[in-house]
């Protein structure tokens, strides 16, 4: 959905350019418009080359070795729902997840059900650490990526919050250096 929004101006510009493609040797038909020669630098950013969070694959945030160090299998299970790109590593007792959210800043998250929320700094990043946001056994660390995006590391070990937080903290330390 977000990609479509970003691409919309490009589509309009390309459509307009298609309508005004001049014959060789003829000037542009509309005053103020121009057609770039093939070698010219494009005026629009190249949207096919994602930057920042868009360039990150949620399953690449933990290497196979890092995943196994958390008691998880080497490969995670990729998922995308409602624009949230995520990866779940299922362990014998729980699940560790990474989620890329390009819509909400960490102060916009619905954490009112959490039993404890602390503002922390991990490496270069400001983060929120939330315990039991969905009940006992849930532990999340939400990294701030600018003001309107976040990347979270979550662990779910039903009814075992200390265990979940131990895993989430360990995973967060592994992931933080890879964040933009």
């Amino acid at each position: 959905m977000r990609i479509h929004t970003r691409l919309a101006p490009l589509v309009l510009v390309l459509a307009a350019a298609g309508c005004s493609t001049p014959e060789a040797g003829t000037p542009a038909s509309e005053p103020g418009t121009s057609v770039l020669p093939p070698s010219a630098t494009p005026l629009l950013p190249d949207t096919t080359q994602p930057t920042g969070l868009a360039a990150i694959d949620a399953c690449d945030l933990l290497t196979a070795q890092e995943a196994t160090s958390l008691g998880a299998p080497p490969q995670g299970h990729a998922d995308e729902i409602l624009g949230l790109r995520s990866c779940d590593w299922v362990t014998p007792e729980g699940v560790v997840s990474t989620t890329i959210d390009e819509e909400l800043g960490i102060d916009e998250l619905a954490l009112s059900d959490a039993s404890n929320i602390t503002n922390v700094t991990i490496g270069r990043h400001r983060a929120k650490r939330a315990l039991e946001a969905s009940g006992p056994g849930y532990c999340d660390i939400f990294f701030a990526i600018g003001d309107s995006a976040n990347l979270s590391v979550s662990a779910l070990y039903l009814n075992d919050t200390p265990r979940a937080c131990a895993v989430a903290d360990q995973a967060a330390a592994l992931i933080e250096p890879k964040l933009p």
């Binding site: 997840s97 998250l109 619905a110 946001a133 969905s134 979550s154 779910l156 039903l158």
Partner: protein, 120 residues
């Protein structure tokens, strides 16, 4: 219900629950697969839930509302139902482990009894 299953298994012997090793292992494997899927579903619901109330995901808000309404109109949310299901599966898994051991004990006992009858 699965709690009863565990208690029945813990009785052991003729009064308890027993299941042969091959069947038990097959059932435990199946339960494990369901458990893994359930963990992923719970993680999905959680990540939508924390992004539902204040932010820009209207679909997530709808899911959050569904979460609080589902489960036959009582106070349990979808998440709570799935968590309870996960607990039940865990108990069933434990019961099968116990039932498998019971079966092996019964088999061993039967072999010993047969040996005593054959070679008094």
């Amino acid at each position: 219900m699965a709690g009863e299953f565990v208690r029945a298994a813990q009785l052991g012997g003729v009064a308890g629950f027993a299941v042969d090793t091959d069947s038990a292992r097959e059932m435990i494997l199946s339960i494990g697969q369901v458990q893994d899927q359930l963990k992923i579903r719970l993680a999905q619901i959680h990540r939508l839930k924390v992004r539902a109330k204040l932010g820009g995901l209207p679909e997530a808000l709808a899911i959050s509302e569904l979460d609080s309404q589902v489960a036959s109109g009582d106070t349990q949310s979808l998440q709570e139902v799935l968590q309870r299901f996960a607990e039940v599966l865990e108990e069933a898994d434990q019961a099968l482990e116990i039932g498998m051991r019971n079966y092996e004990q019964i088999e061993t006992q039967a072999e010993q009894d047969f040996g005593r009858i054959s070679h008094p």
